[in-house]
Symmetry: C2
Subunit: 452 residues, 2 copies
Amino acid sequence: MKLILLSGGSGKRLWPLSNDSRSKQFLPLLEDSNLSLQSMVQRVYQQLDKVGLSDSTVVATAKSQVDMIQNQLGIHVPLVIEPSRRDTFPAIALSASYLLSELDVAIEETVVVLPVDPYVADSYFNKVKELEKILAETNADIALMGVTPTYPSEKYGYIVPVSEETSSVRHVSRFQEKPDENQAKKLIDEGALWNCGVFAFKLGYLIDLIESKGIPSDYGQLIQRYEELPKISFDYEVVEKATNVVVTPYDGEWRDLGTWNTLTEVMGQATVGKAIVSHDCENSHVINELDIPVAVLGLSDIVVASSPDGILVTSKEASPRVKELIDFDQRPMFEERRWGWYRVLDHTHFDAGYEVLTKRICVKAGKNLSYQYHHKRSEVWTVISGEGEFVLDGKLIPVSAGTVLHIPVGAKHGIRAIADLEFIEVQTGTELVEEDIVRLGMSWDETLGYVM
Amino acid sequence: MKLILLSGGSGKRLWPLSNDSRSKQFLPLLEDSNLSLQSMVQRVYQQLDKVGLSDSTVVATAKSQVDMIQNQLGIHVPLVIEPSRRDTFPAIALSASYLLSELDVAIEETVVVLPVDPYVADSYFNKVKELEKILAETNADIALMGVTPTYPSEKYGYIVPVSEETSSVRHVSRFQEKPDENQAKKLIDEGALWNCGVFAFKLGYLIDLIESKGIPSDYGQLIQRYEELPKISFDYEVVEKATNVVVTPYDGEWRDLGTWNTLTEVMGQATVGKAIVSHDCENSHVINELDIPVAVLGLSDIVVASSPDGILVTSKEASPRVKELIDFDQRPMFEERRWGWYRVLDHTHFDAGYEVLTKRICVKAGKNLSYQYHHKRSEVWTVISGEGEFVLDGKLIPVSAGTVLHIPVGAKHGIRAIADLEFIEVQTGTELVEEDIVRLGMSWDETLGYVM
């Protein structure tokens, strides 16, 4: 049995903590059994580990999430990196080809696809394990897991079983997307289940299907032709067209933590970060990632969320509407990377396109920034803590707290931390964007190859 | 006629915009007739100007407010600078001695004392002008202005006239501080007025009185002995002990803008700074002094105020309680000074007392920082815009965007802006506080005297 964890989404409904480089599944807001904070991804991966499935798991994701996943799950989790974002059918097809041609998985093997971000009880993963047996026993093309509805929701898709069936495995008659409340009530009466995006099939079934569409099943070829794949969901392209589909119900806890009101329901503590909340505030939450304090006075049922990207103050009820309110065009102000993190302290636009961007940067011990240069900016780095080595135009320089480094436009430079290294970077120039970077070498060995 | 404007207070109830260096009267949140923003001080001074009284005005204030007052009112307003904060009697006594011995004001001259921060109609200042005539006609020792109450407030002091009098000038029978609501109703029935802190007297009256207490009436002597003066209000020490006091009612608008709910009532616009407020928010205000956006969703009757010191989210009703909630011990994160301003971008504490403080600093064209050195920190300045000249240990260096300046511990340094000069300062050391500064010269001429 192999698992494909789909790590997608941008999570704009959790602004300002989520942004293009930091989807909701990476926010460290859930409490683990030791009362430490963990993200949705970390929680799900820990649950997979408990049932012995983590070693059978690959994660399908975008390039922009690779650093986050490796920071949160470690560097040994196999990743299927989508060359671009094209919905779930292409992502799952690519992952299937990866299992086949990179991991040599047999075509008889059961594959289960599941999203990376549901908030569920451990029993959910026991149910996932059962899918292999269900697939074998029913000889179905696809076996689904469906959540037993707790209310007639208008926001989920419903899986409708053949009406007479009430056993623990039912044949699927049809699918219904986002019904209105009355329709939802009728569907629940018919025994319909919420579609939670868990699909099981034999690897060979999907490989045959993609080959029948003229799509290569070889991973190397498929990744080359990825841009040709249709932007369509696996539900539409595969599941809803299949004729022999079964579903098994899951009765335990299942929550979609996509909005501030749902997320704060499962938070172990009312505040994260520097926060002061007056005693008369009831059911209010503060999530503060800034260095300055947030004080809340006399307000109940609200969420205050702040990060270097902005500050949200919302009633819990209105919080799903945040996506409509925000202009998401601004640059990220905080990013975690494989080498550490940076935070934008100040970004000022002067006349004639001249800009100044001040960052605080941390490179973790043993990590390095790539050997690189920039076309449109010079940089001054003031090292404020730690120890490391720096290469400027082929010259190696030891650095520690107090060292000041001048990097003119076009000068090649790289840095490696020996002990956790922090510096303040002042960029000056025009078009100060992350993309103005020419990388000459990623590893420190490559960088040292340039030293004269 | 001479006016003493009392500029006191720290305004903790308007946190996080007000702090020790920025009292509420300096917050630029009121709209003037051109729809520009002005502070309470600027509004009152403009109103004094309209009735021809601004040239007769001195401002009594603390050293910490001098830069703010000069930035907001200009450098030509005469200032009486209290050596320390000792309540209103010492401040008014010092101001009276200043009028007598520094400005040579005659002892027959009428002096009116008024607070710098009431939000009032222009007619208030016409009433202030009448006090001179009232004092002459009644031959009273002190003439007061009292506000006609609009409700039985428990938070003001009441001036109770002799009961039979209903004329526009009444003799005062007694004073009553903060009554309960029932007492307040009875006081209003007796014709009592709110004490708004406006006192008129002949200069000679107060000079005689302070001399009778053994306090010198010479400004130079009084300032030397200021610390010996009792910490007591002018009301208690002078007005309530006087036997011949009259009061005249003022019927116009008068508001005490000391809390967020009262201040936002008179704000011309619902938001200041980067803010997004959803359409269903009613009577909510955002005052955002940060560079990042504040979004408010689905919340009515609230105030969100943010500055580099912190973020306040409060119901309007609860807003007067902010003072109880906040620990005011933190350092100011933004300050306006006579030479420009600075803002703290980052302040990090490492192990063993080692700290790093990153600031963005602006020195206005023609202004300079004093020639100075520090005991416990080194600094790196990266100039990001403008032009100026810098002196380091007696050596003169021209600077412009891109110049990087290293200032070791103990190195003497000063800078002058030719065009508005901005730089990023990275301080590293221990005990990074504003007070670690030894000033060798304030003016640029003095600084140039050190150039070898």
